[in-house]
């Protein structure tokens, strides 16, 4: 890479790290580590954004770096860790495919991603155009992560990592989206995670597990649940579990919905 300025080398290094982290996520089965990897991915993204902001002098990139720091490095990992502790889901079950098989698929996906990104990279005029392929690869690898996992929590980490990939893609292709859009996207991600938090408690309450194989009974034909509209259906909960989830997030053990069973 002789002749490439140092900051650009650093940026490319960040891009490579992102790809590596995606592979690590693909292989990792411990959910706590998965969330940590997501946080590191966010941090690398932050560094890359700052470098790019410094290099190009685009002020809005500083803003989106601040957004990344607040949301992806601090808030999301914090809330995910909290959920993991509350719900006590530490390990994913055996993935649908074994690790080496997943890795092979991952490799193929990366090759495909670079092929897909080729025409875009060729047209881009940004300094980071080589990283577009990596961004696409991160998106597709997160996709694979989501497909091969059984636990709801790992799927969510995959989902968030996909969003990181998209963010990185926008950054390397066009130095970021217009600010109003970036704020909107960040808001959506934030709300999505909050909604999911509530949702996890609901799933947990109902099935006593976050394993998604419980959620496979609705098929294209013949719903298996007999008459889910029944009037005398009793709910064991007098309070909505929305409330329960909020209290649980606030750390009130007496009101933890899990304690009720």
């Amino acid at each position: 890479m002789a002749g490439t300025p140092f900051d650009l080398q650093l940026l490319n290094f960040c891009a490579a790290l992102l790809l590596l982290l995606s592979f690590a996520m693909l292989a990792q089965r411990r959910i706590v580590t998965l969330v940590n990897l997501l946080a590191i991915q966010g941090a690398v993204l932050l560094v890359a954004t700052l470098l790019l902001a410094w290099r190009t002098g685009e002020h809005h990139l500083y803003l989106s770096a601040a957004l990344t720091l607040a949301l992806k490095v601090v808030f999301l990992p914090w809330i995910l860790h909290r959920l993991i502790r509350r719900l006590q889901v530490y390990w994913d079950t055996e993935p649908l495919l074994n690790i080496s098989g997943t890795m092979l698929i991952g490799l193929l996906v990366v090759v495909f991603a670079f092929g897909l990104a080729q025409p875009i990279s060729a047209l881009a005029s940004t300094a980071t155009r080589n990283a577009i392929g990596i961004a696409v690869a991160v998106i597709l690898l997160s996709f694979v992560t989501m497909i091969t996992r059984r636990k709801a929590m790992s799927q969510v980490v995959g989902f968030l990592s996909m969003e990181n990939g998209l963010f990185f893609g926008a950054m390397s292709a066009t130095y970021g989206m217009p600010m109003i859009v970036e704020f909107g996207v960040a808001l959506d991600v934030l709300v999505a995670v909050l909604v999911l938090g509530i949702f996890f408690f609901q799933i947990r309450e109902q099935f006593d597990s976050l394993d998604l194989h419980h959620l496979e009974s609705l098929k294209e034909s013949q719903p298996l649940y007999e008459a889910h509209y029944s009037v005398n259906e009793t709910h064991s909960l007098d309070r909505s579990s929305l409330e329960g989830a909020t209290h649980a997030l606030q750390g009130d053990p007496a009101r933890d919905p899990l304690d009720r069973r």
């Binding site: 897909l116 989206m177 217009p178 609901q202 109902q206 959620l215 013949q222 008459a227 909960l237």
Partner: protein
């Protein structure tokens, strides 16, 4: 002014209902908010009709012939659904299926959902379209799981993940669109995602990038439309949530998603000068029609039945937009209107029917006509209307689509006709015993709201017999705007 009222009413309504949503008068408040939104939409429409297209808030929002009628339609169905939800949710509370906090959540999210759809329709910024579409998903996820049954949780999870991943594809498509636009419109980033600006320069946008972007955008927003093979979430979300939500999901959200796809198609077609976008829309549309009409046979749950029917109709609309040209676009827009009105009317009737029978399974719903002739007839007329029986508006639009298909894409006509026939047999065969025969229904503690059902059906009937000239002009202007061919 009207515009500000249109967006702020449901937004502040959502906040207010977040506080008072569990009060005894909350359903009435919900109706009042929807009414004000509808009046604002009418005023806005009147203004756009007299003064022409409107651009507001630093060009971030705009009203043109294409979206103005969808805004009015959305506000109207929002209003009638709130009327329907008033007795429906009270019965649900009496039956102990929803508690007070959940009712509050329901009311608040209902208005938030309306806000996001109105934003998605009126925004000029393709990025904001994405943000609003995602927000629409998020605001309805917790509504789908409102009953907390295992099935509803599964439906909610599927809805969240499939639509979330789908819409992430759309975000990538939007990034690519921005990437192409930035080259032409300058790197300022202020105007590069505005549809009006993009439309003005669509001929200069880089075709390779836009072609790639369209694939992602179609897959992304197509997931929300419920196009096969990305439709899995749709029947579950429709069947497991409360019926008013099924009505607005089917009647409104799918329309908004199609609207987003068509906006993208206009840009991409202008850049590509090829048949690719049209062909993709046609094949996705046709696949959805065929798949949905055959899957209709295998349903036992009445709400799932009509959810599959929605997939089928979304397929027809997508196919029509794919053919393009003034007639097919006109027909597709008309079909969007009548489908939305008819399908929400059907869901209103179905909701009350399921409450009366105490089950959503079709074999448990029998002889509605004996105990409540109005619900029975409402369901019967609605089903006939959605199946494309002559005096109703769906017939007019389907007829136009089929005749255009015969001229433009003759190969597709037999496929479409077969699918329509199969769907007819499936739905009519199920609805008939539910309406006639021995009854299983019982009385409800609150009188059902039947005005919305018949108001919608009357409108559909009117559109089948006579499209008012200003409405026809409107459709024509929108069809010209969408272009194609």
């Amino acid at each position: 002014m009207e515009f500000l009222l249109l967006l702020s009413t449901p937004l502040f309504g959502a906040l207010a209902l977040g506080v008072f949503g569990a009060r005894r008068w909350a359903p009435e408040l919900n109706v009042v908010i929807s009414l004000i939104t509808f009046l604002a939409a009418c005023a806005l429409t009147a203004r756009v009709v007299s003064e022409g297209p409107l651009v507001v808030a630093h060009e971030q929002f705009f009203i043109d012939p294409f979206n103005v009628f969808l805004v009015t339609l959305t506000a109207f169905v929002g209003l009638s659904t709130s009327l329907f939800s008033r007795p429906y949710m009270r019965v649900e509370m009496d039956h102990g299926r929803v508690s007070a906090p959940r009712l509050r959540l329901y009311h608040s999210m209902y208005q938030l959902f309306m806000t996001t759809m109105l934003i998605a329709l009126t925004t000029n910024n393709m990025g904001l379209v994405w943000v609003a579409m995602e927000a629409a998903t998020l605001s309805t996820v917790l509504l789908v799981t409102l009953y907390r049954t295992p099935a509803s949780l599964e439906a909610g999870w599927k809805y969240f993940i499939l639509c979330g991943v789908g819409i992430a594809q759309a975000l990538f498509g939007t990034i690519l669109l921005y990437f192409a636009a930035e080259k032409v419109l300058g790197a300022e980033g202020v105007t590069a995602l505005l549809w009006t600006h993009l439309n003005a320069v669509k001929g200069q946008l880089e075709p390779t990038v836009l072609g790639l972007a369209f694939v992602f955008l179609l897959v992304g927003y197509g997931t929300k439309v419920g196009l096969a093979p990305l439709h899995n979430w749709l029947p579950d979300a429709h069947a497991e949530g409360p019926t008013p939500i099924s009505a607005v999901l089917s009647g409104l959200l799918l329309n908004v998603a199609i609207y987003a796809v068509v906006r993208c198609k206009v840009l991409v077609e202008g850049s590509l000068h090829s048949q690719l976008p049209s062909q993709m829309l046609m094949s996705f549309g046709l696949l959805s029609v065929v798949l949905a009409s055959f899957l209709l046979w295998r349903q036992r749950d009445i709400k799932r039945l009509f959810a599959y029917s929605s997939i089928e109709h979304m397929g027809i609309i997508t196919f029509a937009f794919g053919m393009g040209g003034p007639v097919a676009n006109f027909a597709a827009l008309l079909h969007m209107t009548v489908h939305s009105l008819t399908k929400s009317a059907i869901f209103f009737a179905v909701g009350h029917a399921a409450q009366k029978a105490g089950s959503q399974l079709m074999e448990n719903i029998r002889g509605l006509i004996t105990l409540s002739p109005t619900i029975g007839w409402g369901l019967m007329m609605g089903s006939l209307a959605i199946l494309g029986m002559p005096p109703f508006g769906v017939f007019a639009s389907e007829f136009l689509i089929l005749t255009t298909a015969m001229r433009e894409q003759p190969w597709a006509t037999p496929i479409l006709l077969t699918a329509l026939g199969v769907a007819f047999a499936a739905i009519f065969g199920r609805v008939q015993p539910m309406v006639f025969g021995e009854t299983t229904a019982k009385r409800l503690p609150h009188p059902p709201a039947l005005l919305p059902v018949f108001a919608h059906l009357a409108l559909v009937l009117m559109l089948g017999i006579y499209v008012p000239p200003y409405l026809a002009d409107w459709y024509r202007a929108a069809a010209r705007l969408i272009g194609g061919q």
